[in-house]
Structure formats: C-alpha cells, structure tokens
C-alpha cells in the first residue's frame, strides 16, 4: 500500500497535468461564453505543454546547453545523462508560439461573432440563429 501511495506521490507533475486538463476540458464543454471557452482551450494547451516539458526532466542534470560545446573535440566528454531531454523543449517552444497565433484567430472569430449577434453567449446566439 505504501509503495503504491509513494508511486502516486512521486508523480505529482502528472497530477497537475490531469488537473489542468480537467479544468480546460470542463470549460470547453460546459461554459456558454465563447471567451471562457477560449480560455479553457488555452488552459488545455498549457496542460499539454506542462506534460511534455515534465517528461523531458532528468534528475540531477542541467539545461541542454553544452558546457564546453566548442570545436570538434568537445563532444567526446558529452554524456546524455548530464543534460535534460531537449526534444520536448523544441516541440513546446513552437507549440507556445502557435498557441498564441491560434488564440489570435479564436479571438478574431469571437470579435466577428460579437459584431454579428451582439453577444458572446452561446444560447443567445443559438436563439438568434433559430429565429428567421
């Protein structure tokens, strides 16, 4: 029992990830305001980014910038264990900027919807669409 409990406790990064995913997903499904939905989408993206970056961590290693990375002979001393995994950082680096760009498009659509219907509440928009 203690082993199971400690195995859950040492994985606290996934706890945060699961919590953020649930918050973001709930906002996407249950909220009726479009801006709140967009915020939920952003929280969801943040959760995925946290998930990836936390996967790249290694105990007792440093950032993936080589200490003596100059010249051709430097690479002999480099051990993969000394540096954290650079791959999730690369993927999330682009994902962060792309998420800002998609946020811009989402907000542009929200502005358009507001210009058309005068509201951002989903049920009010649906009522206006049903009305001929």
């Amino acid at each position: 029992m203690e082993a199971i409990l400690s195995s859950f406790l040492t994985k606290y990064n996934y706890w945060v990830f699961i919590g953020l995913v649930m918050i973001g997903m709930y906002a996407l499904i249950a909220k009726r305001n479009l801006v709140k939905k967009i915020i939920g989408m952003n929280i969801f993206q943040t959760a995925v980014i946290l998930f990836y970056v936390s996967i790249g961590a290694k105990q007792g290693s440093t950032i993936p910038i080589l200490d003596s990375g100059h010249g051709h002979d430097a690479h002999h001393a480099v051990q993969a264990i000394d540096y954290i995994n650079p791959l999730p950082h690369v993927l999330m680096l682009t994902a962060i900027v792309v998420s800002v760009a998609t946020l811009g498009v989402a907000l542009a659509l929200a502005i358009k919807v507001h210009q058309q219907y005068g509201t951002l509440e989903e049920d009010e928009i649906a009522a206006q669409i049903d009305k001929p």
């Binding site: 195995s7 499904i29 996967i55 290694k58 080589l66 990375g69 540096y83 650079p86 682009t94």
Partner: protein
C-alpha cells in the same frame, strides 16, 4: 448539460488517473522519452552543427521541416486574422474630434466645419476621452529600443544561450505592441505600416523555405545546410551553424510581424483607427 460535462470530465480524469502508474517517474533518466532519440542529439549536436544550445540545433537543423511548417502555421494565422477582421470601408462620422497636442485640448468639429487636417499641432482622435499620459509615453519610448536590442540579442545569440527566432521574434513584437499600447495605433502605423508587417511575415517564411530550396539547388537535401559551405566559405559543420542562424532570422521576422498584425487587427477590430 453541466452535469453531463462534469461526468465526462470525471471519467476522463479517472482514466488518466488509472494510467498514472504506467507513466515514468518525475525526473527519471531512464524514461522512454529520454532513451531513444534525444541522447543522439545531446552527444552529437555540437559536433554536427557547432551549436552548444541543443534546443536550437534540433529546432532549426534536425527538425527543420517541423519548424518550417510551424512558421507557415503562424503566418497563415496572421493572414486568417487579417481576412476575418480587416474592414476598409470607414463610416465617416458626423462630428470629428481633434486634439491639440501641446495643450491636450480636444476640439469637436461639427459637420461642415473646417478641420485642421495636415496640421502638425493637431491629431485626429476617435473617442471623446483618449487616455494620454506623458510619463507612460516617455517611459515606454525609452524602454522600447532596449527591448528591441534585447530581442536582436536573443535571436543572434540563440546558438550559445537560451533563445532563437521564436523567442526573439515574440520579444520584438512585444516591444512594438508596448509602443502601441502606450501611444495609439496611428503613431505605430507611422513607424511600421500594416503593409510592411505583412510583407515582413511573408519574407520570414520565404527566407526559411528559400534556404531549403537553395540547399536543393546546390545538390543536397531540402534544408541540408552543409551544402551551403561553398557559398559561405566555411566547412560543412560551420555551414550548418550559419544555416541555423539564417533560418532563425526568418522565423524571428515572421513571428514578429505576425504578433504585430494580430495586435493591429484585434485591438481595433480591423478598423485600424486609434486602437485601445
């Protein structure tokens, strides 16, 4: 609706929780993600590309295709925002508002009145109360050049320290947006027109894709920078390092211009008047 959503979310959370023991421990060096591809990048990155910052090397060299299409995604997001929001037909208002810059007095000119258009001392404004504060204006005016300089440093020094095209481009865009917030959109348009921003974002993507095509013309694979060695006059490893810098500059241009375009269009709902 809320109840169903809650049930769904709890179910999803429960499934993730159920899979939790299968995930590797926090900071486990032997986790599957850290044992297959990334050791190669860490151990050979510097020898292959002469870039101590492995993130930069992977971003612009090993995974160059991915980054190129990410840049294209950002570019198309900027264009999408432009096409969605931009309106060119202006409703000509009944009354026009002008502010006398030295005194801060606002003039309200009725229809048919003579407007001080073209005068250096007056500027057109759109609402009765436009926030104008000299301290904020001057502080931002002083800070913006240093922020821009830092952005250029982040782009140019991306091989050796945390940084690169995406980060530097966002910082540069933030500097321009800071100027736009502290002044108004019109004074930013005098320095960076919308047309220039669109051209810059397209130029950024073109630099990236053009570098790839250049490598293709020189007989290598697409985005194989070592083929640029003859053109740049360095050996193949240094050519990859320089190739990374070239595409990072392209990425920085595209990201900066798209951030600015997004702000232009979102803050004024596409009308491009005085903005926020």
């Amino acid at each position: 609706m809320r109840f169903i959503a809650l049930i769904t979310i709890l179910l999803m959370g429960g499934l993730l929780f159920y899979g939790l023991p299968d995930f590797p421990d926090w900071g486990d060096p032997a986790s599957p993600a850290s044992t297959h591809v990334s050791p190669y990048y860490i151990e050979h990155g510097a020898a292959d590309t002469h870039a101590p910052n492995i993130v930069t090397a992977v971003l612009a060299d090993y995974r160059g295709y991915d980054t190129m299409f990410e840049t294209a995604v950002i570019f198309s997001a900027g264009l999408a925002c432009f096409f969605l929001l931009r309106t060119f037909r202006q409703k000509s208002a009944e009354t026009k508002l002008y502010r006398h810059i030295p005194t801060g007095v606002t003039l309200r000119i009725e229809k048919g009145g003579k407007t001080p258009a073209g005068s250096e001392e007056f500027e057109p404004i759109d609402s009765h109360w436009v926030p104008y504060d000299m301290i904020i204006n001057m502080t931002c005016r002083l800070i913006v050049p240093f922020v821009q300089l830092f952005a250029l440093y982040v782009i140019a020094h991306g091989h050796y320290s945390p940084g690169g095209g995406f980060q530097g481009g966002v910082i540069f865009g933030a500097a321009i947006i800071l100027f736009a917030i502290s002044h108004d959109l019109r004074s930013v348009f005098r320095r960076l027109q919308e047309k220039t921003a669109i051209l810059l974002s397209a130029a950024g993507v073109l630099i990236y894709a053009g570098t790839g095509v250049l490598c293709l013309i020189l007989g290598g694979n697409f985005l194989d920078y070592s083929r640029l060695a003859g053109l740049l006059g360095v050996d193949a490893v240094m050519a990859r390092s320089h190739g990374i810098l070239i595409v990072e500059i392209g990425v920085g241009l595209a990201v900066m211009a798209v951030m600015v375009m997004l702000y232009y269009n979102l803050s004024s709902a596409g009308r491009h008047d005085e903005g926020l």
